[in-house]
Amino acid sequence: MQDTRIDGMGTIAGGEYGSVKVSGMGKCTGDLTAQSLSVSGKFTCQGKLKVGKLTCSGTADFEGDISAASLSASGRLVLGEDCNLEAQEVRCSGYIRVGGQISADFLKAEGAINAREVVGDQIQIISHSRGLGALLFPTLSTVGMVEATTISLSGVRADTVSGQNVTIGPRCDIGQVDCSGTLSVHRSAKIGRVTGDCVRQGL
């Protein structure tokens, strides 16, 4: 499998690669499979992506699903409508927008997440409204549904949040929380209603 890099403006065909590095403006015209993909420039993919390690410090747009072992986004990663992202580990200090569902064992976001659904095992989204990040990216996170074993949210607007251990932090606006274990709610968080057999803890 060949490694490939795009430093200026370039287009690669879909296919199987070793490591793919995009520091310029790159485009992939089909489905892409790679051991690793690193985007520090701008990358557009017209197909889906299957990758081991995905790193995005620039901007990457995908018209298909992404399946990754690990994903780290300090830049901007966007997947189209009805596209889904699945990974074992997701770290986001930038901005991730997914038209469909993000499914991850572990998700830690200090930046912003925008998705129809975020599901998995441990989901932590702490979105801030200050700092340089606030100037460059949308800051609060908006998710339709969050469903995971352990959930910790701040600065998140969501319709429903369901989990075993749920922490709703400051600046959250949640329609409905369903919790089957322990629930902690910050006094500044807005919650529509709470369902489920859970133990309330102070925050």
């Binding site: 699945e86 499914s103 064992d105 599901v119 998995g120 095992d121 441990q122 469903e147 995971a148 074993t149 352990t150 369901s162 989990g163 075993q164 369903d178 089957s180």
Partner: protein
Amino acid sequence: MNPSTEHCYERGAISLELISKKQLLAETGISYGQLYRWKRERLIPEGWFIKQSSYTGQETFFPKEQMLARVQAILEAKDRYSLEELAKILSPEAVDVPLAPRELWEWGEIGPDLLAAAEAAAPPAGLSFDQAVLLAALWEGVQHLSLPPESAKDLVYQALALPPPLRCAEGGCTLFRCGGELTLAVTGGEQPPLFGPAVSVLDSRPMSELAGRIKMKYTARFESGPTDESRRK
């Protein structure tokens, strides 16, 4: 039963009982993390996640019997196999190695009524994986309907006469009567088939769970050797 949580997927005379995601977690004790990890690892087919409107909004349901069986299978097997191996075992792809009808009987997948007919009608090399799954489904149907041995044997001959590919892991086995004849069909997909009024459907069951179970027994058999089989249900 609480009518608000009782959901059925009804087509014609056969209904597929559903279980909500919440109920599934409560009944099996698994976590959201496990459910979604298993979906990602393809241990649970995407097609089993059925979205339906309920009085609380859009909810996700699963085919109840299959899902409960699949969760149990994964919980029991996950210490012995890696997730990738489990995914292979549970995937709809068939296993290539032929199986003797006697082994199916030893595994408790077919009863004595079917064994004699299966031994008579099986190809000399042995049963294919699909044929093994179909016979196991047939046995369940025969027991469910309490069919007499002659009818059961006839169904075995009919089943083994079906040309490949059968793709039983992704389909269902339907027993029906048409014009006085008792016969069977292998149908694709999760839904039971729809027939016109001349046909009366007696039994229709999906085979994906059976396929998974038989495949696991295959795999176990190769690890322990063919002489090491004890009768298991």
